[in-house]
Amino acid sequence: MSSVIKVRMADLNVVSAPDTIRTSGLGSCVGVVIYDDKRAIAGMAHIMLPSSSLSKHLMTNEAKYADTAIPALLTQLEKRGARLYSLKAKLAGGAQMFSFSTGNDLMRIGPRNVEATKDKLKELGIPIIAEDVGGKSGRTIEFNPISQLLQIRTVNKGTTEI
């Protein structure tokens, strides 16, 4: 029996096959999947903000920020038996849910989350195999460590796989 492990907003988790891992309702947030393609192990983080340096208080949740969520995910993947050299990444999200101009930085948070996630992956030498980012639609994503496919569902454009 396989089960679906859920990742909530500002949360991360790791699964081994045959389990799959899912996060729902990504808007400006980014869902990043990091997987070991030889060992069918995958981790997912639901990132809300680009950088922990934005945090105005003591950091409580490392899964919330791109720059801390990805290293934390790697630690968990290693514990599960993944090898750092065979890790690959896929990402989705970073949409702009509302289009109106207020000159507020808040409105550009989606693209900034995507950028910060890519920067961190690049810094850690993890190749990005596929991505579905930007646009105006919310996404629910599910990754299967066996097929290594990321299924993406939106309310208007149906389901795709990358």
């Binding site: 907003m9 729902s24 309702g25 809300m48 409580t60 509302f98 207020t102 105006k136 919310g138 629910t140």
Partner: protein, 211 residues
Amino acid sequence: MEFFQKLKPHHLDALKEIGNIGAGHAATALSKLLNKKIDMSVPAVRLVSFQDLPDQIGGADQKVAAIFLRIEGDAPGSIFYISHIEETEKLIQHLTNELTFQLQEPPYDELGTSAFLEVGNILAGSYLSSLADFTQLSLQPSVPGFSVDMAGAILSYGLIPLSEVGDYAIVIDTEMMELDAKEGRIRGHFLLLPDPQSFKEIFTALGVDLR
């Protein structure tokens, strides 16, 4: 979070009063606009973790129609008017007399969506102006934005300013619903999410002791 831990019941009561005054005026405005009797619930003031917020609207995956505005001025924050697809269709059909208006799949009729945005403007405007009168704070609504999408994706947008300081939000939630409806009531949630720095302003303006 430290701040939220210091909150006492009388703080939440003060926020509830804000919801009462604001939503009372907004419900009256909506009632006039629709020429229907609109009732509102007692405002619920909740301290919720981000992760639990979408569950209160039916889950992160739930497809909803939403209007989103930023509050600018002395006490910034976010305002959402969120309702189910069918109920929003009914509201817009009633406003425009366009009985074919649908939100099942895009493109949505422009006249209908701009009517819905106008509803958002009127609701938020009356909510904020009564709030501003009551607190003597200067509060202005931004231009509203409209989206039909997953509740999680929509709500997370308003959580960004709060997420920079913690993992919790205070939500002032008022449900508005049509009275005497024969079938399929018009119903929606009006959510006010003050930004973290706004609580001090609001409590000071209301004369509520911060400690």
